[in-house]
């Protein structure tokens, strides 16, 4: 048992399910351990690449430790998400440049083909199969699909506010925007998601 009241050797699901309660006693390792899975899920939902999502989380951890590791633990949560959000945006910028080049080369190689959205064409590893007829699986897949269909800022606002439990000010810090923008993004996200997800409640 650690000084923080839960075992350090094994993984405690409370760290997994609950947002990290930053306190003076929270160590950097405890914080990162508690946030890494959710960070990976947020990254994976944003970029749809499982391996790249791990890379993004790793980059975010490095950046966070280097820039904000000395800050008070109470400040860590929004700052970590801020770093990850920044890395996700960087990934999309790099990917946009790469897509422009590959798209141009692809058009040269396959003139006359129908225009297709590469994101729609990408294989979805969570496409429900026969076993995914169970209600939870179906609902989970619907949730993932709905979240992936959201614009990046709306999805980030939803995940940080609704899942991670940050308040408006913390979310604004994480997303590097005003609190008004957070409310707008969240409102639009809720509007779009409600129609798709209410049937699964």
């Amino acid at each position: 048992m650690s000084a923080f009241g839960y075992p350090m050797s094994g993984f405690d699901s409370r760290q997994l399910l609950a947002p990290v309660a930053a306190s003076a006693a929270t160590t950097l390792e405890t914080f990162l351990r508690g946030v890494e899975r959710r960070a990976w899920r947020v990254a994976e939902l944003a970029i749809r690449q499982r391996d790249d999502a791990v890379d993004l989380v790793q980059e975010a951890m490095f950046g966070f430790v280097r820039r904000y590791g000395q800050r008070a633990p109470e400040e860590w949560t929004p700052l970590f998400w801020r770093v990850l959000d920044s890395r996700i945006h960087d990934w999309h910028r790099r990917n946009a440049v790469r897509s422009r080049w590959t798209g141009w080369l692809g058009r040269l190689g396959s003139e006359g083909d129908e225009e297709s959205d590469p994101l729609l064409a990408a294989a979805d590893g969570r496409e429900p199969g026969p076993l995914a007829r169970l209600a939870d699986r179906e609902a989970g897949a619907a949730l993932d699909a709905a979240l992936r269909a959201l614009p990046l800022r709306q999805r980030q606002a939803f995940l940080l506010r609704i899942w991670e439990g940050l308040d408006v000010a913390q979310t604004a810090t994480a997303m590097r925007c005003s609190q008004g923008s957070v409310k707008t993004h969240l409102s639009r996200a809720l509007m779009r998601l409600r129609d798709q997800l209410e049937p699964y409640q």
Binding site: R37, F62, G140, Q201
Partner: protein
Amino acid sequence: MNDPRHEPWLERSRALLDESLHEIDAATLSRLNRARQAALGKAHAQRPLWLGLSVLGATAVLVLAFGLARQTPIPATAPTPVVAPGTQVDADADLAVSDADSDELYENLDFYAWLADAGNGGQG
């Protein structure tokens, strides 16, 4: 207005997202673990540099102070005897002789003994 976060479909969404964390494959978990350790290792590696600079600065200050202390001229006068507070000073302390005087005293000890005897005889 009610907090929208408590709507049933949102509660359900949160539960599903939480549940999805348990389905992350072992390879990804292992990579996340290594990423965390690497980030923390880097953080710890930064500390010796910071500490090293502090120790280096402290050492430089000590060396400088020692050098200055050695350059300061030491007064040629003999140090004043220190008497602990409360110690009763013997009235004859002023008569205490230096080493040179002490040698002279011992060399002429016979003379002083004769002088004392002669004095006593003269009086008696």
